[in-house]
Symmetry: C2
Subunit: 197 residues, 2 copies
């Protein structure tokens, strides 16, 4: 009985590890060539499994694509979680730095995600959901129990600012240096929130 | 001969007026129901002309749609042109105010445009072109002959800030009041540009 339970637990781990591996393979292929040009057969071949087994994990290409996006969003969220006991400015600086680090490591996915947001409803709603969740976290941190409408505008605006500034940064060959960009981002939120209070 | 020239000039005016009327009809229908759900037959019927005549003005639905977007972009550009002899802050305030006025008057088109940017390559490239042109104007005004990479990031970021803040503003039932939002927008650009110099 214990042995059966152990085998089941092991099997669950195997399934989860395989799922992760498939998501990574998918993220790489979708990033390299775009959603339209990647087939489920190619994903299966690249992952070294049968197409049937791939469909056992994900019911279709659209669901598979959505899962790769969801995994990226979770990774980003986990990276930007900060220690609530630190001073607000330190938390913000750490989160912005983690965000920039993720963009540096995934610059192609990032640019493709933003440029194609809307091309696929999944991407657009994911980008919007990540922004909304992040905005809520920041607004709660800055505005206490009753944030003003102006503060909400400032924080939502700033999350867009981040993406606009980061795309320009990538396009300009990562100039200015990352630390300089981080200062600009953090300082702009501080200024906008100050104006909105 | 003079009479023929007059008739030709009159005919050109008629053609241009008809084209404008068709663009306005198209903009209204595309805004109300979205690109996919509007047919050229409907546009012709709504404008009170034959489908054949509509195709005489625009070779296809895609080209017609692109022309309606181009007309909106030109309208927006004309509205936000400012008097270069005024102080920079006054010019900025006037341009931001004109932008907000346009958004108030076309709130549905505006939200649809941004939410669907990417869904159609035409929309995405138009939004990007308008941002790039506007960024160039602002960077030139702020940065003189040799704008720094940080200033470019700040200005591009701020144009995204505008749209993020304005979408949030519309979603919150136009709260805070427009003057307050304008102050936030203008102040944030001033702060971001100051941080970037």
């Amino acid at each position: 009985m214990a042995s059966l339970r152990t085998r089941r637990a092991f099997r669950r781990l195997e399934v989860e590890a395989r799922r992760q591996q498939l998501l990574e393979t998918g993220a790489r292929l979708f990033t390299e060539r775009g959603y339209e040009d990647v087939s489920m057969s190619e994903v299966a071949a690249a992952a070294g499994i049968s197409k049937g087994l791939l469909y056992h994990y994900f019911p279709g290409k659209r669901a598979f694509f959505a899962a790769t996006l969801e995994a990226a969003a979770q990774e980003l969220r986990a990276l930007t979680v900060t220690d609530p006991d630190l001073p607000a400015l330190e938390q913000l600086t750490a989160a912005v730095d983690a965000y920039l680090g993720w963009i540096e490591a995934h610059s192609e996915s990032y640019a493709r995600l933003l440029h194609s947001a809307g091309a696929l409803a999944d991407v657009a709603s994911l980008v919007q959901r990540v922004r909304d969740e992040t905005a809520e976290r920041i607004v709660a941190g800055l505005g206490g129990d009753e944030p003003s409408p102006a503060l909400r505008c400032a924080v939502h605006g700033w999350l867009w600012f981040m993406d606009g500034a980061c795309l320009q940064w990538l396009q300009a060959g990562r100039e200015p240096p990352r630390e300089r960009l981080r200062e600009l981002l953090v300082g702009t939120l501080a200024a906008a929130a100050g104006l909105a209070v």
